[in-house]
């Protein structure tokens, strides 16, 4: 089985986003960028499937402009066999991304596509579900455990009330939650090896897909901040303030 792992380049999760003064978006110029953490979980899971003999080839794919290649190289350094960059300078919405990924999944004849459950930048939490819908494949989101057994997979999902286990038919589209695994660290020799692995580039325009955005961002602003509070010196002072000042207990 071939596995397609869909990854996104995002602002590093340790960095606080800064809104541009003109309200047009978040300032990413010179910001530290990284692979979306959930996408690393997705890739790690695919790599473990290959190591367990469930998969033969791991293809890592991303949609984006010039520096997207860095994120794909990181995926190759983690252990993916090859990479595909669908090249565009436009910022595509999840529906458009899902259309592109569907094209790649069909072109490559993969038996499983895994994505991160959510990108930490636009927080849409949509692409996996949309890709699954467009392919007409089964859907297993927010996975914390995946077991593939031939034509079926058993997936444990993190849901609001706890854990839910479902069985899905293969081929399937799945999204990785945090507890699925702990992504491996990349070592220097892996980075060197990744430079020699194949990286295909496909121009988005050559695919002939309708990837027009449906939403117009009118404004981006910072939320109201919280006013700084006070440091109390003892538990009894804290309890007194909660009772008599804040009146919440």
């Amino acid at each position: 089985m071939k596995i397609l792992v869909c990854v996104k380049r995002v602002l590093d999760p340790q960095v606080k986003a800064r809104v541009k003064a003109d309200g047009s978006g978040v300032d990413l110029a010179n910001a530290k960028m990284t692979m979306n953490p959930f996408c690393e979980n997705a890739l790690e899971e695919a790599l473990r499937m290959r190591e367990a003999g469930t998969a033969e080839e791991i293809i890592v794919v991303s949609v984006g402009g010039g520096k997207t290649e860095e994120t794909l190289r990181h995926g190759l350094a983690m252990g993916a066999d090859r990479a595909i960059q669908v090249v565009t300078e436009d910022s595509l919405e999840p529906l458009a991304i899902a259309k592109v990924l569907k094209h790649v999944a069909e072109q490559e004849g993969v038996g499983l596509a895994i994505c991160g459950k959510q990108a930490i930048d636009d927080e849409s939490n949509q692409t996996t579900q949309m890709l699954s819908a467009l392919l007409g494949w089964s859907q297993a989101t927010f996975a914390s455990e995946i077991k593939i057994e031939g034509e079926q997979a058993t997936v444990t999902r993190e849901v609001d009330a706890g854990l839910e286990t479902i069985q899905v038919k293969m081929p399937a589209v799945m999204s990785a939650d945090l507890r699925l695994n702990e992504p491996r660290y990349v070592k220097l020799p892996d980075v060197m090896k990744a430079k020699r692995k194949p990286m295909d580039k496909i121009e988005l325009d050559s695919l002939g897909l309708d990837t027009a955005n449906r939403l117009t961002t009118l404004n981006v602003e910072e939320p109201e901040g919280r006013a700084a509070g006070v440091i109390v010196n003892s538990v009894s002072e804290m309890v007194e303030k909660l009772r008599n000042e804040a009146k919440v207990i």
Binding site: I120, Q129, A161, E164, T165, V220, V248
Partner: protein
């Protein structure tokens, strides 16, 4: 305008989250219908018909909907959506699982996690762990929306008198099946609706130590939550996670114990009315959002707090 709100339920009761999505629909304006997809869910349909402001409850009662599998429910939503300008659900794991699938089949965008309705086509949603708010305008004929519950009051659960209509459709897509679930202890206070939440982080050091927080929570009628670090370390189960990718909550009082306050955690609790932080590291970022901070060893402070209540 006409709204269809997808009811989240367990075949017995309407989830509280649904009431907040109904309020978002009321703010959009126009008629509000509800869709109940379930199995032996007549009680849910009856309760849904009582929600204030609802015109009609459409019920698809059929074994294929018993466990709300995404493929089956999304397909039913698509069948119904053409009658509506807006299709909404709460941004819970149920809504997040089902709605994007329906949106893609309708070839429309989804507007995720809205926190404000500006007009019938313009909405505000948080991005970057809540560090920015984006105002977006949709050009789609059908607007598929998930609603961040903390930013909309709950609609009145009673007082309405909607009609109930049984609808057909909803074949089994045959793609997936439900196996089992491991749900949290129902005796505990629900984290998403609790007025007071006591949360523990990495500083708790073990799952056993959470019993200290449970004791405080019991005295306050509070729910217990956790940071990602505490869940990843296996101290507590995933459903207690508060944060960007866990639950987003806004209780009257949030007590953060041994939580450093990573951006991702703040995204899940910074809308709380009053925030208390107990941490032995005075430099911890949690103190920047706390109304009352106590720099102390939690293993001394929490028992003392417990005794003081």
């Amino acid at each position: 305008m006409s709204n269809l709100v997808i009811v989240e339920h367990d075949n017995n009761e309407v989830s509280a989250a649904t009431l907040h999505a109904v309020t978002a629909a009321q703010q959009i304006g126009g008629d509000i219908d509800l869709l109940v997809a379930g199995e032996n869910c007549a009680a849910v349909a009856e309760a849904a018909a009582g929600i204030a402001g609802v015109s009609k409850v459409k019920v698809a009662d059929n074994p294929n909907f018993g466990h709300h599998l995404a493929e089956n429910v999304a397909s039913l939503i698509v069948d119904q959506a053409s009658d509506y300008t807006h299709v909404l659900a709460s941004a819970t794991t149920f809504g997040k699982n089902v709605m994007p699938r329906a949106a893609a089949l309708l070839d429309v965008a989804q507007i995720s996690d809205i926190v404000e309705v500006k007009s019938d086509d313009t909405f505000v949603r948080p991005i970057y762990a809540g560090n920015a708010l984006a105002t977006v305008q949709s050009a789609d004929a059908i607007k598929v929306i998930t609603v961040r519950t903390i930013k909309f009051e709950a609609a009145a659960a009673e007082g309405g008198s909607a009609s109930v209509e049984q609808i057909g459709g909803g074949a089994d897509a045959g793609l997936s099946s439900w196996v089992s679930q491991a749900l949290s202890n129902n005796d505990q206070v629900d984290l998403t609706s609790a007025k007071i939440v006591v949360s523990g982080g990495r500083g708790m050091q073990s799952g056993d130590n959470f019993s200290m927080l449970h004791s405080v929570a019991d005295k306050l009628g509070a729910a217990v939550g956790a940071s990602r670090a505490a869940v990843d370390s296996g101290f507590v189960p995933n459903e207690l996670q508060v944060g960007q990718t866990g639950k987003v909550i806004a209780p009257d009082l949030y007590i953060a114990v041994g939580i450093s306050g990573a951006i991702q955690h703040l995204a899940g609790m910074k809308e709380s009315k009053v925030i208390v932080a107990i941490n032995n590291d005075s430099e911890a970022p949690i103190f920047q959002v706390a109304d009352y901070g106590l720099v102390a060893d939690l293993f001394e402070a929490v028992p003392e707090l417990d005794a003081a209540l």
